[in-house]
């Protein structure tokens, strides 16, 4: 059981405070929705959790340890970030094989996750020719590659069609039911209302609400009015 815990997390870029004294817990076995308007600090928070951005203050612990000190980070934590890039000339399967090399994950597992995100037939194609939705699926495959107990996902439904969104929702529910920890950042309230157990609502880098979804309203309308009040 691996919780994700932020403690007094703060980040300033020059004179701009992107994240201010944020503390929360994303418990294992649940989907925690991370909601906030564009530019509210969600992405910066996730990047700090993943050791990509150095906090000005505070920290994020994954199972009690900062990400940068995990011995096998890809086997513990899967991440999908918005700015994650692909080499346009690299084939989808090779993209995953590059990541697999970091943890000596066998090619068999690469093919398995390609099948899981429905990219088995496109595995040999260069990413250059992929649609936004296919790139998103490849990014999700990369996050799943190490069979991690924690998933940190930034706007994962971006570019997915309705069937893809429904598939992802089912997948995340199943993974949470297995006891994994899922932190799902989004500005799509409807998606969070349908998927999350817990919600964190941030605005201007500050946490405005943290608690079970039912406390704030499980319907899209209730969540929307609470969100607009808080942000």
């Amino acid at each position: 059981m691996t919780d994700v815990v932020a403690r007094g997390l703060t980040k300033t870029f020059g004179r701009v405070t992107a994240v201010r004294d944020m503390s929360f817990t994303a418990p294992a076995g649940t989907i925690t929705g991370f909601l906030g308007p564009n530019g509210s600090g969600k992405t910066t928070t996730l990047r700090m959790a993943l050791g990509l951005v150095q906090p000005t203050g505070g920290d994020v612990l994954i199972g009690g340890v900062p990400y940068a000190r995990l011995a096998h980070p890809r086997r513990r934590v899967g991440a999908l970030l918005e700015a994650t890039g692909f080499h346009p000339g690299r084939r989808a399967r090779d993209h995953l094989r590059v990541l697999a090399a970091a943890e000596r994950i066998p090619d068999r597992r690469v093919d398995e996750v390609l099948g899981q995100v429905d990219l088995a037939e496109a595995a040999g194609r260069r990413v250059r020719g992929f649609s936004l939705g296919m790139r998103q699926r490849l990014g999700i495959a990369a996050a799943l590659l190490g069979d991690p107990e924690v998933l940190l996902l930034d706007e994962p439904v971006n570019g997915l069609d309705p069937a893809g969104i429904a598939w992802l929702r089912g997948l995340l529910r199943r993974l949470a039911a297995e006891g994994r920890t899922i932190l799902l950042a989004s500005h799509l309230l409807g998606e969070i209302a349908q998927t999350a157990d817990h919600v964190l609502i941030v605005s201007s880098g500050q946490l405005r609400f943290a608690g079970p979804l039912r406390e704030i309203g499980e319907t899209n309308e209730a969540l929307e009015s609470a969100f607009l009040d808080l942000t």
């Binding site: 990047r47 990509l52 995990l70 700015a83 080499h87 990369a142």
Partner: protein, 251 residues
């Protein structure tokens, strides 16, 4: 093999662009040596084979860009995020890139050296000249050329880490080689100019032999000294690359 190094080799093995770039090295050698002979080089001149072999060092411009591409290319395309997620310590990423690019730089230099030998042998036999493989000069020039290919690949990794924007990094590096160092050298005088990186590499790979009246060909260091200076630059760029990479936020 360390996991970071396997990762770097797998990255290189799964794309084409860096290899197309490196193929320009041997092509430059073929064109350069052919030009040397076609422009009236006398194959009976005992100094001419050395001038032919010195083209191997010129191919290092491509290993320089290759090294830049290995780092700045990742920043430009955003794949650096995944790389640092795999190796959050980051130091292993830069050392693996230095090792992988150095090894590929050595291989590219050896291919260029082999190409130089074959092309020179072909021209000399076509023109009825003779040259001796056993000449110490041959191996000094070829060896220096290969070393320059390795050093520039590693320096490229450093430049790419310092200037993450791919276009800016390549432009800056090529501008330095083609323009900036020459002007700076005139300002500070040849006594100091010979310590600058491109001049030092010219003494290492004896590229000055290819231009009899080049601005930079006057007052170069001895080959071994040039090699030591290049080693110094390589270590300095590598250390700077590691230090800056450890600190910087990836947003």
């Amino acid at each position: 093999m360390p996991r970071a190094l396997t990762t770097e080799f797998r990255k290189l093995a799964t794309v084409r662009s860096p290899w197309l770039l490196l193929a320009l090295g041997p092509l430059t050698v073929v064109a350069g040596i052919s030009g040397l002979v076609a422009s009236g080089g006398n194959v009976h001149d005992p100094a001419l084979p050395g001038k032919a072999f010195a083209h191997v060092g010129l191919a290092a411009i491509f290993t320089l860009v290759f090294g830049i591409l290995a780092v700045a290319g990742e920043y430009s395309r955003g794949t650096i995020t995944d790389t640092f997620l795999s190796f959050p310590g980051r130091r292993s990423v830069i050392t693996a890139k230095l090792a992988a690019c150095g090894a590929v730089g050595a291989a590219a230099g050896l291919v260029s050296a082999g190409t130089a030998l074959v092309v020179t042998a072909a021209w000399w036999s076509a023109k009825g000249g003779t040259f001796h493989l056993s000449a110490a000069d041959t191996w000094r020039t070829l060896g220096g050329g290969v070393a320059a290919n390795v050093a520039f690949a590693a320096i490229g990794v450093g430049v790419g880490a310092l200037v993450r924007n791919l276009a800016a990094a390549v432009t800056a590096a090529l501008a330095w080689v083609a323009v900036v160092e020459g002007i700076l050298g005139q300002l500070i005088g040849s006594g100091l100019a010979r310590w600058l990186p491109f001049s030092a590499s010219e003494s290492l790979d004896r590229a000055s032999l290819t231009s009899s009246s080049g601005l930079l060909s006057r007052g170069l260091l001895a080959q071994w000294d040039g090699g030591l200076v290049m080693l110094g630059y390589t270590v300095a760029f590598a250390a700077a690359a590691v230090l800056i990479t450890l600190k910087r936020d990836v947003t």
